[in-house]
């Protein structure tokens, strides 16, 4: 009786953990990134700069950790039941890459848990390269640290939210430019704040926007 109670409590909290962990982590890392971005001019010590430059490793590390956690959870849950145990050692004959023992399980976790993480990392690196070259040719679009900021934000929004993150940046560039011209008489807007507002919008309304724009097919 007690064991069953403990088991259902564990399942309840593990469910909550799996459900809320990514959301809470992404919000926390987003707030930390904005905080560091705002303070970047105030600190010039090497430790701060080192952390700022390598901050991208945190969302990458988390993505890999979460995919690993889900893969391990899937393994243990299938392994617990005699009926589903067979899924672990099955050969996936439908695919040339996975036609060996454990092939189906490897295919399953790659497709369901790892692919979106790998795509997120890939598009974030591509975005970083784009910003890097854009900065070379149009220096005035950027203040110091904004290329790194864009890279980390792209990692935070992930796939498929990245697809709506990009047009939102342009939308916020226009909105913020108009506000700056009207109220501050400033002619230039860099990409920092538009990227932050775009990422915030995606974090809050990403799922709804994906549905409204019928982009659900991009979800993996």
């Amino acid at each position: 009786m007690l064991l069953r109670l403990l088991k259902s409590m564990f399942n309840f909290f593990f469910d909550l953990f799996l459900t809320w962990l990514p959301k809470l982590f992404l919000i926390a890392i987003f707030l930390a990134v904005v905080f560091l971005y705002v303070l970047r001019g105030k600190f010039s010590n090497k430790f701060f700069l080192f952390f700022y430059k390598l901050g991208f490793l945190i969302p990458i590390g988390f993505g890999i950790f979460y995919a690993f956690l889900l893969s391990a959870a899937q393994y243990f849950i299938w392994n617990k039941d005699e009926f589903t145990k067979i899924l672990l050692t099955s050969i996936d004959e439908n695919s040339a890459f996975f036609s060996y023992k454990y092939g189906y399980f490897i295919h399953y976790i790659l497709l369901h848990f790892w692919l979106s993480v790998l795509i997120s990392i890939g598009v974030a690196f591509a975005f970083y390269a784009f910003l890097f070259f854009l900065k070379k040719y149009r220096e005035r679009f950027f203040e110091d640290g904004e290329v790194e900021l864009g890279f980390v934000l792209a990692l935070i929004v992930g796939w498929p939210n990245f697809v709506i993150f990009i047009p939102l940046i342009f939308a916020f560039v226009i909105i913020i430019s108009i506000i700056r011209v009207l109220f501050l008489r400033e002619m230039y807007t860099t990409l920092g704040w538009p990227m932050i507002f775009a990422a915030l919008t995606v974090l809050i309304f990403g799922n709804n926007l994906i549905d409204i724009l019928k982009l659900g097919v991009l979800k993996i």
Binding site: L18, K23, I86, H112
Partner: protein, 129 residues
Amino acid sequence: MTSREDLNGKKSILIIEDDDFLVTTYRIKFEKEGFNALIATNRKEIMSALEKEPPHVVLLDLMLPGISGFDILEIIKKNEKWKNIPVIILSNLGQAQDIERGKKLGVVDYFIKTNVKINDVVKVVKKYV
């Protein structure tokens, strides 16, 4: 016997899932438990299965080729004939927004595949038939 039970008096479950291995596992398991397991993997098959004979319960995967599980859920809940069929969602990632959306659309239960044994799914399905 209700009109939806087959000739052997079995309750029917519509399993909407595109993974062949999982489909086979669920089918065998539910048939072993005395259900008539119907399988659908895409929109055409889903609509055809629902129109032919509304099942007692639907087990719905959220990620399907070409259509989202939520779209299917909306179709079911908007149709007078099908709106009272209990729908149970099975998802790979327990995203908070997805759970909330599923509840709003009227799902009776929600499972994250990484945290549920097939026997627990069967127990819950039996609760609703």
